[in-house]
Symmetry: C2
Subunit: 187 residues, 2 copies
Amino acid sequence: MSPRIGLDLPTIVEAAAEIADTSGIEEVTLASLAQKLGIRSPSLYNHVNGLKGLRLQLAIYGLKLLTESINDAINGKSGDEAIHAIAAAYMAFARAHPGLYELTLRAPDADDVEYAAYAQALVNIMVETLRVYGLDYDLTIHIVRGFRSYLHGFASIEQKGGFGMPQAVDESLKQVLNTYLIGLHHS
Amino acid sequence: MSPRIGLDLPTIVEAAAEIADTSGIEEVTLASLAQKLGIRSPSLYNHVNGLKGLRLQLAIYGLKLLTESINDAINGKSGDEAIHAIAAAYMAFARAHPGLYELTLRAPDADDVEYAAYAQALVNIMVETLRVYGLDYDLTIHIVRGFRSYLHGFASIEQKGGFGMPQAVDESLKQVLNTYLIGLHHS
DNA sequence: TGCAAAAACTAATACCATTAGTTTATTATA
DNA sequence: TATAATAAACTAATGGTATTAGTTTTTGCA
Protein backbone atom coordinates (compact mmCIF):
# COMPACT_ATOMS: atom_id res chain seq x y z
CA MET A 1 0.00 0.00 0.00
CA SER A 2 2.62 2.50 0.95
CA PRO A 3 6.01 2.82 -0.65
CA ARG A 4 8.73 4.91 1.02
CA ILE A 5 7.25 4.28 4.45
CA GLY A 6 8.28 6.49 7.34
CA LEU A 7 6.52 9.70 6.42
CA ASP A 8 2.88 10.10 7.29
CA LEU A 9 0.47 12.90 8.10
CA PRO A 10 1.03 12.96 11.90
CA THR A 11 4.79 13.13 11.43
CA ILE A 12 4.41 16.00 9.01
CA VAL A 13 1.97 17.92 11.18
CA GLU A 14 4.07 17.48 14.31
CA ALA A 15 7.18 18.69 12.49
CA ALA A 16 5.27 21.73 11.26
CA ALA A 17 3.97 22.42 14.76
CA GLU A 18 7.52 22.34 16.08
CA ILE A 19 8.58 24.94 13.52
CA ALA A 20 5.59 27.08 14.46
CA ASP A 21 6.33 26.89 18.18
CA THR A 22 10.06 27.49 17.98
CA SER A 23 10.39 29.86 15.03
CA GLY A 24 6.98 31.48 14.63
CA ILE A 25 4.12 30.75 12.28
CA GLU A 26 5.45 32.67 9.30
CA GLU A 27 8.42 30.31 9.27
CA VAL A 28 6.06 27.44 8.60
CA THR A 29 6.56 27.12 4.85
CA LEU A 30 6.47 24.08 2.62
CA ALA A 31 10.13 24.77 1.93
CA SER A 32 11.26 24.83 5.56
CA LEU A 33 9.07 21.87 6.46
CA ALA A 34 10.40 19.80 3.57
CA GLN A 35 13.95 20.62 4.58
CA LYS A 36 13.26 19.58 8.17
CA LEU A 37 11.81 16.29 6.95
CA GLY A 38 14.60 15.65 4.46
CA ILE A 39 12.41 15.71 1.37
CA ARG A 40 11.69 18.13 -1.48
CA SER A 41 8.76 20.47 -1.02
CA PRO A 42 6.58 19.19 -3.91
CA SER A 43 6.56 15.78 -2.21
CA LEU A 44 4.45 17.27 0.55
CA TYR A 45 1.54 17.47 -1.86
CA ASN A 46 1.24 13.71 -1.59
CA HIS A 47 0.16 14.13 2.03
CA VAL A 48 -1.34 17.57 2.33
CA ASN A 49 -3.30 19.93 0.13
CA GLY A 50 -0.64 22.60 -0.20
CA LEU A 51 0.15 25.24 2.39
CA LYS A 52 -3.51 25.90 3.00
CA GLY A 53 -4.12 22.22 3.67
CA LEU A 54 -1.14 22.08 6.01
CA ARG A 55 -2.49 25.01 8.01
CA LEU A 56 -5.86 23.33 8.27
CA GLN A 57 -4.23 20.15 9.57
CA LEU A 58 -2.31 22.21 12.10
CA ALA A 59 -5.50 23.88 13.26
CA ILE A 60 -7.20 20.51 13.69
CA TYR A 61 -4.20 19.08 15.51
CA GLY A 62 -3.98 22.07 17.83
CA LEU A 63 -7.68 22.04 18.59
CA LYS A 64 -7.47 18.34 19.38
CA LEU A 65 -4.55 18.81 21.77
CA LEU A 66 -6.23 21.77 23.43
CA THR A 67 -9.51 19.93 23.91
CA GLU A 68 -7.79 16.88 25.35
CA SER A 69 -5.74 19.02 27.68
CA ILE A 70 -8.83 20.78 28.97
CA ASN A 71 -10.68 17.52 29.38
CA ASP A 72 -7.85 16.19 31.51
CA ALA A 73 -7.71 19.33 33.62
CA ILE A 74 -11.40 19.29 34.36
CA ASN A 75 -11.44 15.68 35.55
CA GLY A 76 -13.23 15.32 38.87
CA LYS A 77 -13.87 19.03 39.26
CA SER A 78 -17.06 21.02 38.93
CA GLY A 79 -18.43 24.52 39.28
CA ASP A 80 -16.07 27.43 39.83
CA GLU A 81 -13.17 25.07 40.36
CA ALA A 82 -13.75 23.51 36.96
CA ILE A 83 -14.00 26.92 35.31
CA HIS A 84 -10.68 27.96 36.77
CA ALA A 85 -9.16 24.65 35.70
CA ILE A 86 -10.32 25.21 32.13
CA ALA A 87 -8.81 28.68 32.09
CA ALA A 88 -5.50 27.45 33.52
CA ALA A 89 -5.29 24.57 31.03
CA TYR A 90 -6.18 26.89 28.16
CA MET A 91 -3.43 29.33 29.06
CA ALA A 92 -0.94 26.55 29.69
CA PHE A 93 -1.55 25.23 26.20
CA ALA A 94 -1.25 28.65 24.59
CA ARG A 95 2.03 29.26 26.42
CA ALA A 96 3.51 25.84 25.71
CA HIS A 97 2.53 25.96 22.02
CA PRO A 98 2.48 29.61 20.99
CA GLY A 99 2.70 28.96 17.26
CA LEU A 100 0.32 26.05 17.22
CA TYR A 101 -2.18 27.96 19.34
CA GLU A 102 -2.11 30.88 16.94
CA LEU A 103 -2.82 28.52 14.05
CA THR A 104 -5.53 26.72 16.02
CA LEU A 105 -7.81 29.71 16.30
CA ARG A 106 -7.17 30.76 12.72
CA ALA A 107 -8.57 27.96 10.61
CA PRO A 108 -8.33 28.98 6.96
CA ASP A 109 -11.36 26.82 6.30
CA ALA A 110 -13.63 26.84 9.32
CA ASP A 111 -16.20 24.85 7.36
CA ASP A 112 -14.03 21.74 7.54
CA VAL A 113 -16.00 18.94 9.16
CA GLU A 114 -13.24 17.65 11.40
CA TYR A 115 -12.26 21.12 12.57
CA ALA A 116 -15.87 22.02 13.28
CA ALA A 117 -16.34 18.81 15.27
CA TYR A 118 -13.43 19.55 17.59
CA ALA A 119 -14.52 23.16 17.97
CA GLN A 120 -17.99 21.98 18.93
CA ALA A 121 -16.52 19.53 21.42
CA LEU A 122 -14.71 22.37 23.15
CA VAL A 123 -17.89 24.40 23.36
CA ASN A 124 -19.74 21.37 24.71
CA ILE A 125 -17.25 20.96 27.53
CA MET A 126 -17.93 24.51 28.63
CA VAL A 127 -21.69 24.15 28.29
CA GLU A 128 -21.54 20.97 30.33
CA THR A 129 -19.43 22.62 33.02
CA LEU A 130 -21.97 25.43 33.35
CA ARG A 131 -24.83 23.01 33.80
CA VAL A 132 -24.54 22.98 37.61
CA TYR A 133 -25.38 26.69 37.67
CA GLY A 134 -28.88 25.96 36.37
CA LEU A 135 -28.94 28.76 33.81
CA ASP A 136 -31.41 28.74 30.98
CA TYR A 137 -30.10 27.70 27.59
CA ASP A 138 -29.80 31.15 26.01
CA LEU A 139 -27.90 32.59 28.91
CA THR A 140 -25.60 29.57 28.93
CA ILE A 141 -24.71 30.27 25.30
CA HIS A 142 -24.00 33.90 26.10
CA ILE A 143 -21.82 33.00 29.06
CA VAL A 144 -19.87 30.40 27.10
CA ARG A 145 -19.26 32.94 24.35
CA GLY A 146 -17.97 35.35 26.93
CA PHE A 147 -15.74 32.74 28.48
CA ARG A 148 -14.26 31.70 25.14
CA SER A 149 -13.78 35.31 24.10
CA TYR A 150 -12.05 36.16 27.33
CA LEU A 151 -9.69 33.19 27.17
CA HIS A 152 -8.79 33.72 23.54
CA GLY A 153 -8.33 37.45 23.95
CA PHE A 154 -6.20 37.00 27.02
CA ALA A 155 -3.98 34.39 25.40
CA SER A 156 -3.72 36.39 22.21
CA ILE A 157 -2.83 39.69 23.88
CA GLU A 158 -0.34 38.07 26.22
CA GLN A 159 1.35 36.32 23.31
CA LYS A 160 1.82 39.62 21.53
CA GLY A 161 3.30 41.18 24.66
CA GLY A 162 0.27 43.41 25.04
CA PHE A 163 0.22 43.36 28.82
CA GLY A 164 2.70 45.81 30.24
CA MET A 165 3.89 44.15 33.42
CA PRO A 166 4.37 40.41 32.94
CA GLN A 167 4.53 39.40 36.59
CA ALA A 168 0.88 39.72 37.48
CA VAL A 169 -0.87 38.22 34.46
CA ASP A 170 -1.88 35.03 36.23
CA GLU A 171 -3.33 37.11 39.01
CA SER A 172 -5.29 39.07 36.41
CA LEU A 173 -6.60 35.88 34.87
CA LYS A 174 -7.94 34.66 38.20
CA GLN A 175 -9.26 37.99 39.43
CA VAL A 176 -11.21 38.64 36.27
CA LEU A 177 -12.58 35.14 36.24
CA ASN A 178 -13.71 35.52 39.84
CA THR A 179 -15.39 38.80 39.02
CA TYR A 180 -17.18 37.13 36.13
CA LEU A 181 -18.25 34.23 38.34
CA ILE A 182 -19.53 36.54 41.05
CA GLY A 183 -21.62 38.26 38.42
CA LEU A 184 -22.86 34.90 37.27
CA HIS A 185 -23.90 33.87 40.77
CA HIS A 186 -25.84 37.12 41.16
CA SER A 187 -27.88 36.88 37.99
CA MET B 1 11.44 69.44 -1.24
CA SER B 2 9.11 66.94 -2.84
CA PRO B 3 9.02 66.00 -6.50
CA ARG B 4 6.18 63.92 -7.93
CA ILE B 5 3.74 65.24 -5.36
CA GLY B 6 0.46 63.44 -4.83
CA LEU B 7 1.64 60.33 -3.06
CA ASP B 8 2.28 60.49 0.66
CA LEU B 9 2.19 58.16 3.63
CA PRO B 10 -1.47 58.68 4.57
CA THR B 11 -2.57 58.00 0.99
CA ILE B 12 -0.52 54.84 0.92
CA VAL B 13 -1.74 53.59 4.27
CA GLU B 14 -5.38 54.29 3.47
CA ALA B 15 -5.11 52.45 0.17
CA ALA B 16 -3.53 49.49 1.95
CA ALA B 17 -6.28 49.55 4.59
CA GLU B 18 -8.88 49.44 1.85
CA ILE B 19 -7.28 46.34 0.37
CA ALA B 20 -7.16 44.75 3.81
CA ASP B 21 -10.83 45.46 4.51
CA THR B 22 -12.19 44.42 1.15
CA SER B 23 -9.91 41.56 0.13
CA GLY B 24 -8.34 40.30 3.36
CA ILE B 25 -5.00 40.96 4.96
CA GLU B 26 -3.02 38.41 2.94
CA GLU B 27 -3.92 40.38 -0.16
CA VAL B 28 -2.04 43.36 1.23
CA THR B 29 1.19 43.00 -0.71
CA LEU B 30 3.57 45.62 -2.01
CA ALA B 31 2.67 44.40 -5.48
CA SER B 32 -1.10 44.81 -5.09
CA LEU B 33 -0.72 48.12 -3.28
CA ALA B 34 1.60 49.52 -5.94
CA GLN B 35 -0.83 48.48 -8.64
CA LYS B 36 -3.71 50.16 -6.84
CA LEU B 37 -1.65 53.35 -6.55
CA GLY B 38 -0.44 53.24 -10.14
CA ILE B 39 3.25 52.93 -9.31
CA ARG B 40 5.86 50.16 -9.31
CA SER B 41 6.37 48.29 -6.08
CA PRO B 42 9.99 49.30 -5.43
CA SER B 43 8.82 52.93 -5.34
CA LEU B 44 6.99 52.18 -2.11
CA TYR B 45 10.33 51.91 -0.35
CA ASN B 46 10.61 55.68 -0.62
CA HIS B 47 7.71 55.98 1.81
CA VAL B 48 7.67 52.84 3.88
CA ASN B 49 10.19 50.36 5.24
CA GLY B 50 9.13 47.39 3.13
CA LEU B 51 6.18 45.16 3.84
CA LYS B 52 7.02 45.04 7.52
CA GLY B 53 7.06 48.82 7.71
CA LEU B 54 3.75 49.00 5.87
CA ARG B 55 2.15 46.63 8.35
CA LEU B 56 3.44 48.70 11.24
CA GLN B 57 1.96 51.84 9.71
CA LEU B 58 -1.34 50.04 9.25
CA ALA B 59 -1.30 48.96 12.89
CA ILE B 60 -0.64 52.53 14.01
CA TYR B 61 -3.35 53.89 11.72
CA GLY B 62 -5.86 51.32 12.92
CA LEU B 63 -5.09 51.91 16.57
CA LYS B 64 -5.49 55.63 16.04
CA LEU B 65 -8.87 55.24 14.36
CA LEU B 66 -10.04 52.83 17.02
CA THR B 67 -8.97 55.08 19.88
CA GLU B 68 -10.63 58.13 18.32
CA SER B 69 -13.80 56.19 17.70
CA ILE B 70 -13.95 55.04 21.31
CA ASN B 71 -13.22 58.50 22.58
CA ASP B 72 -16.14 59.85 20.58
CA ALA B 73 -18.47 57.13 21.78
CA ILE B 74 -17.67 57.73 25.43
CA ASN B 75 -18.35 61.43 25.27
CA GLY B 76 -20.64 62.57 28.08
CA LYS B 77 -21.12 59.08 29.47
CA SER B 78 -19.78 57.43 32.60
CA GLY B 79 -19.97 54.22 34.57
CA ASP B 80 -21.74 51.20 33.13
CA GLU B 81 -23.10 53.27 30.27
CA ALA B 82 -19.59 54.29 29.25
CA ILE B 83 -18.36 50.69 29.45
CA HIS B 84 -21.13 49.55 27.14
CA ALA B 85 -20.38 52.44 24.80
CA ILE B 86 -16.74 51.41 24.61
CA ALA B 87 -17.69 47.83 23.82
CA ALA B 88 -20.15 48.92 21.13
CA ALA B 89 -17.65 51.27 19.52
CA TYR B 90 -14.95 48.62 19.64
CA MET B 91 -17.13 46.05 17.91
CA ALA B 92 -18.39 48.60 15.39
CA PHE B 93 -14.82 49.37 14.41
CA ALA B 94 -13.85 45.71 14.11
CA ARG B 95 -16.88 45.06 11.92
CA ALA B 96 -16.45 48.11 9.72
CA HIS B 97 -12.71 47.48 9.25
CA PRO B 98 -12.14 43.73 9.53
CA GLY B 99 -8.77 43.70 7.84
CA LEU B 100 -7.47 46.83 9.47
CA TYR B 101 -8.62 45.61 12.88
CA GLU B 102 -6.78 42.34 12.41
CA LEU B 103 -3.61 44.24 11.56
CA THR B 104 -4.11 46.66 14.46
CA LEU B 105 -3.79 44.04 17.16
CA ARG B 106 -0.90 42.35 15.42
CA ALA B 107 1.89 44.90 15.39
CA PRO B 108 5.00 43.25 13.96
CA ASP B 109 7.05 45.60 16.09
CA ALA B 110 5.19 46.33 19.30
CA ASP B 111 8.21 48.25 20.56
CA ASP B 112 7.54 51.07 18.13
CA VAL B 113 7.14 54.31 20.06
CA GLU B 114 4.14 55.62 18.16
CA TYR B 115 2.31 52.31 18.30
CA ALA B 116 3.01 51.97 22.03
CA ALA B 117 1.73 55.48 22.66
CA TYR B 118 -1.63 54.84 20.99
CA ALA B 119 -1.94 51.49 22.75
CA GLN B 120 -1.30 53.18 26.07
CA ALA B 121 -3.88 55.85 25.25
CA LEU B 122 -6.50 53.16 24.73
CA VAL B 123 -5.64 51.57 28.07
CA ASN B 124 -5.80 54.97 29.74
CA ILE B 125 -9.31 55.56 28.45
CA MET B 126 -10.44 52.36 30.10
CA VAL B 127 -8.61 53.08 33.34
CA GLU B 128 -10.18 56.53 33.42
CA THR B 129 -13.64 55.13 32.79
CA LEU B 130 -13.25 52.74 35.72
CA ARG B 131 -12.24 55.53 38.09
CA VAL B 132 -15.82 56.15 39.23
CA TYR B 133 -15.98 52.63 40.66
CA GLY B 134 -13.33 53.51 43.23
CA LEU B 135 -11.29 50.35 42.81
CA ASP B 136 -7.72 50.17 44.00
CA TYR B 137 -5.03 50.45 41.35
CA ASP B 138 -4.10 46.78 41.08
CA LEU B 139 -7.67 45.63 40.67
CA THR B 140 -8.25 48.33 38.07
CA ILE B 141 -5.38 46.93 36.01
CA HIS B 142 -6.80 43.43 36.29
CA ILE B 143 -10.26 44.56 35.26
CA VAL B 144 -8.95 46.54 32.31
CA ARG B 145 -6.98 43.53 31.15
CA GLY B 146 -10.13 41.46 31.37
CA PHE B 147 -12.12 44.03 29.47
CA ARG B 148 -9.54 44.29 26.69
CA SER B 149 -9.20 40.53 26.48
CA TYR B 150 -12.92 40.07 26.26
CA LEU B 151 -13.36 42.67 23.55
CA HIS B 152 -10.47 41.43 21.45
CA GLY B 153 -11.45 37.81 21.83
CA PHE B 154 -15.05 38.53 20.97
CA ALA B 155 -14.15 40.55 17.88
CA SER B 156 -11.59 37.99 16.80
CA ILE B 157 -13.84 34.95 17.18
CA GLU B 158 -16.76 36.67 15.52
CA GLN B 159 -14.60 37.68 12.58
CA LYS B 160 -13.54 34.09 12.05
CA GLY B 161 -17.14 32.94 12.14
CA GLY B 162 -16.56 31.18 15.45
CA PHE B 163 -19.99 31.91 16.88
CA GLY B 164 -22.56 29.51 15.56
CA MET B 165 -25.71 31.58 15.36
CA PRO B 166 -25.00 35.10 14.13
CA GLN B 167 -28.27 36.70 15.17
CA ALA B 168 -27.69 36.87 18.90
CA VAL B 169 -24.08 38.01 19.12
CA ASP B 170 -24.93 41.55 20.15
CA GLU B 171 -27.13 40.16 22.87
CA SER B 172 -24.21 38.00 24.02
CA LEU B 173 -21.93 41.02 24.08
CA LYS B 174 -24.29 42.94 26.35
CA GLN B 175 -25.27 40.04 28.58
CA VAL B 176 -21.69 39.07 29.28
CA LEU B 177 -20.71 42.65 29.91
CA ASN B 178 -23.58 43.02 32.35
CA THR B 179 -22.54 39.86 34.15
CA TYR B 180 -19.01 41.19 34.40
CA LEU B 181 -20.27 44.55 35.71
CA ILE B 182 -22.50 42.89 38.30
CA GLY B 183 -19.46 41.00 39.53
CA LEU B 184 -17.54 44.24 39.63
CA HIS B 185 -20.20 45.95 41.71
CA HIS B 186 -20.17 43.07 44.19
CA SER B 187 -16.42 42.96 44.80
C1' DT C 1 7.58 -12.61 -11.17
C1' DG C 2 5.13 -8.86 -12.74
C1' DC C 3 1.72 -5.14 -12.19
C1' DA C 4 -0.46 -1.25 -10.07
C1' DA C 5 -0.31 2.38 -6.96
C1' DA C 6 1.69 5.51 -3.91
C1' DA C 7 5.29 8.53 -2.88
C1' DA C 8 9.14 10.36 -3.88
C1' DC C 9 11.66 13.05 -7.51
C1' DT C 10 13.15 16.92 -11.29
C1' DA C 11 11.93 20.74 -14.07
C1' DA C 12 9.42 24.69 -14.94
C1' DT C 13 6.29 28.62 -13.96
C1' DA C 14 4.48 32.53 -11.68
C1' DC C 15 4.41 35.62 -7.95
C1' DC C 16 6.52 38.00 -4.24
C1' DA C 17 9.91 41.14 -1.60
C1' DT C 18 13.99 43.33 -1.83
C1' DT C 19 18.36 45.66 -3.41
C1' DA C 20 21.19 48.35 -6.61
C1' DG C 21 21.68 51.63 -9.73
C1' DT C 22 19.43 55.14 -12.94
C1' DT C 23 16.35 58.75 -14.47
C1' DT C 24 13.35 62.55 -13.73
C1' DA C 25 11.04 66.24 -11.74
C1' DT C 26 10.77 69.61 -8.26
C1' DT C 27 12.64 72.75 -4.88
C1' DA C 28 15.96 75.82 -3.29
C1' DT C 29 19.82 78.57 -4.16
C1' DA C 30 23.26 81.30 -6.55
C1' DT D 1 16.79 82.93 -14.45
C1' DA D 2 19.88 79.17 -14.46
C1' DT D 3 21.81 75.55 -11.86
C1' DA D 4 22.57 72.28 -8.25
C1' DA D 5 20.69 69.23 -4.87
C1' DT D 6 17.22 66.16 -3.51
C1' DA D 7 13.42 63.25 -3.31
C1' DA D 8 10.70 60.10 -5.72
C1' DA D 9 9.90 57.62 -9.27
C1' DC D 10 11.90 54.10 -12.50
C1' DT D 11 14.31 49.54 -14.60
C1' DA D 12 16.88 45.47 -13.91
C1' DA D 13 18.26 41.70 -11.28
C1' DT D 14 18.24 38.33 -7.36
C1' DG D 15 16.49 34.99 -4.28
C1' DG D 16 12.73 32.90 -2.05
C1' DT D 17 8.11 31.05 -2.26
C1' DA D 18 4.04 27.91 -3.75
C1' DT D 19 2.41 25.23 -7.20
C1' DT D 20 1.80 22.19 -11.39
C1' DA D 21 3.26 18.70 -14.70
C1' DG D 22 5.51 14.92 -15.76
C1' DT D 23 8.94 11.18 -14.38
C1' DT D 24 11.11 7.69 -11.58
C1' DT D 25 11.26 4.53 -7.91
C1' DT D 26 9.71 1.63 -4.47
C1' DT D 27 6.49 -1.21 -2.31
C1' DG D 28 2.58 -4.42 -1.81
C1' DC D 29 -0.28 -7.61 -3.93
C1' DA D 30 -1.92 -10.74 -7.46
